[in-house]
Amino acid sequence: MSVTNLLDDWAKFRHPHPVDDKPHDPYKWAMAIDLDACSGCNACSVACYAENNIPVVGKDKFLHGQSMHWMRIERYWDEDGRDFPDQGVQFLPMMCQQCEAAPCETVCPVAATNHTSDGLNSQIYNRCIGSRYCSANCPFKVRYFNWYDYPTTDDVWPAEMTQQLNPDVSVRGKGVMEKCTFCVQRLHEAKVVAKGEGRIVREGEVQTACQQVCPTNAISFGNLMDPDAKVHQQWQAQQVELDKDKQAKDENEGGSELRGYRILEELRPYPSVMYLERVRESAI
């Protein structure tokens, strides 16, 4: 009855997002990554491989830039032209930012990637036809395409290794796009439990693989709508608001003591991942 839908829900169907008058409720999954704690050890990335059945593509394909790591650790040097990077380097864990207004969603011809009710950017493998438009339009370039049929490629999952595959996550065949899902399979499991008990998921009941493994607790993840959630408190402390493209921090240049920022915010994708600036001692 879509036409009838249309007629009686017109206003609702015409409602843009994100906006403050229709807040996410009861769930909005979000993340905060403290770059000052992150040591760039790569544990998150490996954990992601383990949890999400990510294929190991091997040297040649990696050379061709066809790697599949959903979570990549970026390493940036200082650009001050000194002989030695004597303030260390900058690490940045980068994965799908689960944008509220995701550029990838609108362009998919078959609606294989959408914004879910709990504020995630869903990627539906079996719907994907591989036009790769989403990746083309992703400012962060965090979408990874199955250039080959990895399940049937030698040495990707040889005999015994198939047994390690996580049954909760589809193994992707050739020609589909994939990306970080905030471990949706874990979220879903937690929700089922909570629903059964007629409540919503509590803080600490669900962790993403990267968050769970992170040795320095740099990654915190949770329900932004839940006042008890660490991530909620962090976002609040940093005065970063989901549906703003200019935060308190940007308003007063330099003056603020806040560290929270979102990458490429000026493009208004409203990312769900807040980063906390890396701090460096000035006295030494």
Partner: protein, 732 residues
């Protein structure tokens, strides 16, 4: 969730549901496919087993010796993923990438599946019975001191059994070898603190001055230190800790330092003394000893700007307690022990001993406390073999053929032993040299106990238990093997134990009271132990010796590197590759090196200035030549290294060990000169001097970093602020 531990084996025997074949077919067909697939139900499931719902078991990570407790997710009888065990004081529910890859160690397609006996160049399958018989024969004729047993670090009941077995052979030659181990540090610590491995409380320190201790990457207990580091950054009472890293080649820790100080290789001790001097708080013989090290001389010798030295001293003076760490970078020299001593002295002078350098509780069961490995052991074994002292050689959990310095010709010497037994997971370089290869269970299939060398808080014994049934019918646990061999020799002592599991159980229960189980009955205690995965108990604590003297402390004045071999070779120890025993785990091969983002290959780190001098560009295949030998690898221009040094990462360059390891990269162990630390006899890893030359070939470096080469191009991506501009106390 936790398993009651009851009927574990029976449980593990049940069949899987669906199986991975299903998972593999991925998102292919879109039709509902009836009647094609078989569903295999459990025949007799334990009632806590529900299809599609994960069961979690606690065990211990065996990827390195840090002794992190893990929590394995098992579904339908298959272990899927490892998480950290929140109750562990070592890793508090966290893990590292290396640990995550543990499942790939278990599921690795290249594992040895049958006992193999060498006939000519072939390995020919034989039964375990024959294998045991053979060993019995070979060990029969020979006297105890003609037998040598080489192993990696061992602890817990395995160590006990091993000891007993060697005794039964009346063999004293147990060589415990770790290719990369803080051997020098242990000795130095023993001298200056009275204990080999004190407890370093990074989280209590306000300033950490680390001389090349890569405690975030690969040093001693990285996961534990990483967590302390996180607290240290958040700061005690809101004052953020400051990390200063002094080293010639930037490590992961150096990359995270507030100030990374590039120092001329080998002069760390000098700098330490220089700082003591600059502090000016030292008294007595220390003051005398450091008098000569005024800032200008130190600066001149170490290449560290004088201003920098003052700043560091000032910082240390201002913030107390601080912590000074001596890492491998400072110790890999002929005078390594001296360096370490000098650096430890700094801790004394700063009064950190007792505050951030603390005494650990000692293990009430010495027979179980870890036998830590070092490189000196290999040297003596090698000499023995060279003199063909040994007829029978056992090898377990070590790969000396790969990790021994090329100058030792270990491979040739090893051949001099008549009968060589290797207990191995893979046909690695050493196993290939053996006459008899006995396949081991993976740590996820095997029982065991482990005692970490570095004890985070109290004394503890880690339990290792099978997370699933054996993948391959014909592999055995090391414990079971030792037990059966002991049964041959002392039947009446050991026939009582059905298997290693039985042995373990009774052994643990026999000391139950000491382990804090006095109140409960055996069954409960055992189940509690298994589900907990850790036994913690109070050990006795005695004070650190405050032996702070500069007696006998003398550092060689820096000798200009020059002549034929102008550069120093720094063998890079990376968090994921370490000494290369896990190089065959594809996740590790493909996870980019944090600093260079290179995958699947080795590289030569060289400072851009030096490179420009030698007109070397990224991707040039360069030949690195030492007195001992030479290797060819791709050059990577790396600002984080001292211009007088180059660095090649260890761990890659296998010639065996299966599809994921063989033929990727080069092995710098081969070109290390046989130079040793004067006091401990440890191999001085950083003493090798090399020359470097272009071969003319060039390749594209396979790395994650894009063409922009780690520049942000003016975009606001990874942002950094100076500590003045933030207020951490406000934060969550």
């Amino acid at each position: 969730m936790m398993d009651s531990g009851f009927d574990r084996r029976d449980f593990l025997k049940v069949l899987g549901w669906g199986g991975a074949a299903v998972a593999l077919s991925g998102c292919g067909n879109t039709s509902v496919e009836d009647g094609k697939e078989t569903v295999v139900s459990y025949s007799e499931p334990a009632d806590y087993v529900i299809p599609s719902i994960g069961v979690y078991y606690n065990s211990t990570c065996a990827q390195c010796d840090a002794g992190c407790s893990i929590n394995g997710r098992v579904r339908e009888g298959r272990v899927l993923k490892l998480e950290g065990n929140p109750n562990s004081t070592v890793n508090r529910g966290k893990m590292c990438g290396l640990g995550q890859a543990g499942v790939q160690h278990h599921y690795n397609p290249d594992r040895v599946r049958e006992p193999l006996l060498r006939t000519g160049n072939q390995g020919q399958t034989i039964s375990w019975e024959d294998a045991y018989k053979l060993i019995a024969e070979k060990t029969q004729g020979v006297s105890g001191d003609q037998i040598a047993f080489l192993s990696g670090g061992v602890s817990g009941h395995l160590k006990v059994l091993l000891g007993n077995y060697l005794d039964s052979l009346s063999c004293k030659n147990h060589f415990v070898y770790e290719a990369i181990a803080p051997g020098v540090a242990r000795a130095a610590n023993k001298k200056s603190y009275g204990v080999a491995m004190p407890r370093f409380s990074i989280n209590k320190a306000k300033v950490v001055l680390s001389f090349g201790a890569d405690f975030l990457g690969s040093w001693v207990s990285p996961v534990h230190f990483s967590q302390q580091y996180a607290q240290f950054r958040k700061g005690v009472d809101g004052q953020r800790g400051v990390l200063v890293q002094v080293e010639p080649k930037m490590t992961l820790t150096g990359a995270n330092a507030d100030r990374w100080v590039a120092i001329r290789p080998g002069t760390e001790g000098v700098l330490a003394l220089g700082i003591i001097n600059a502090l000016g708080t030292a008294t007595g013989d220390i003051a005398a000893a450091v008098k000569a090290y005024d800032r200008d001389r130190v600066s001149e010798e170490t290449g560290v700007p004088a201003g920098q030295i003052d700043k560091i001293a000032a910082m240390l003076k201002l913030h107390s307690p601080s912590l000074v760490l001596a890492g491998s970078a400072a110790e890999g020299y002929e005078h390594g022990s001296q360096n370490a001593a000098a650096i430890n002295l700094l801790n004394h002078v700063l009064g950190n001993v007792g505050k951030t350098v603390e005494m650990t509780e000692d293990m009430p069961f010495p027979q179980m406390s870890p036998e830590t490995g070092n490189t000196a052991a290999l040297t003596s074994l090698n000499n023995g073999l060279a003199a063909s002292k040994y007829k029978v050689l056992f090898n377990f959990a070590a790969n000396p053929v790969f990790t021994a310095s090329g100058a030792m010709n270990f491979k040739e010497n090893m051949a001099k032993a008549d009968f060589k037994v290797a207990f191995a997971h893979y046909l690695d370089e050493t196993a290939l040299q053996a006459d008899l290869v006995l396949p081991l269970d993976s740590p996820l299939e095997d029982w065991g106990t482990q005692v970490p060398e570095y004890l985070a808080t109290c004394a503890q014994i880690n339990i290792q238990q099978p997370l699933m049934e054996k993948l391959h019918a014909n592999t055995r646990g090391m414990g079971d093997i030792l037990l059966s061999m002991l049964k041959q020799r002392q039947p009446d002592d050991y026939n009582g134990y059905e298997d290693y599991y039985g042995y373990l159980r009774s052994a643990v229960l026999s000391v139950k009271d000491a382990l804090g189980g006095a109140s409960v009955d055996d069954e409960t205690f055992w189940n509690r132990t298994l589900s907990g995965g850790i036994i913690k108990f109070e050990g006795s604590v005695n004070k650190l010796s405050a032996n702070a003297s500069a007696a006998g402390l003398k550092l060689p004045s820096h000798s200009e590197a020059g002549g034929d071999y102008p550069l120093r070779l720094i063998p890079g120890v990376t968090a994921s590759m370490r000494d290369g025993r896990h190089a065959n785990q594809p996740w590790l091969q493909e996870s980019p090196d944090p600093l260079t983002t290179i995958v699947w290959d080795s590289w030569v780190e060289i400072h851009p200035k030096k490179a420009a001098e030698l007109s070397i560009a990224e991707g040039d295949i360069v030949e690195v030549t030492s007195k001992t030998g030479s290797i060819k690898a791709q050059a990577y221009l790396f600002p984080g290294i001292h211009p007088e040094a180059i660095s090649v990462p260890l761990g890659r360059g296998h010639e065996a060990m299966g599809r994921y390891a063989k033929g990727y990269g080069v092995n710098p162990f081969q070109i290390l000169d046989a130079v040793f630390d004067k006091e401990t006899g440890e191999l001085a890893m950083h003493e090798t001097r090399v020359k470097i030359s272009k071969t003319g070939q060039r390749v594209i470096v396979v790395k994650d970093e894009g063409a922009a080469g780690g520049q942000q191009m003016g975009k606001k991506i990874a942002v950094r602020v100076s500590s003045d501009d933030v207020d951490l106390s406000e934060e969550v």
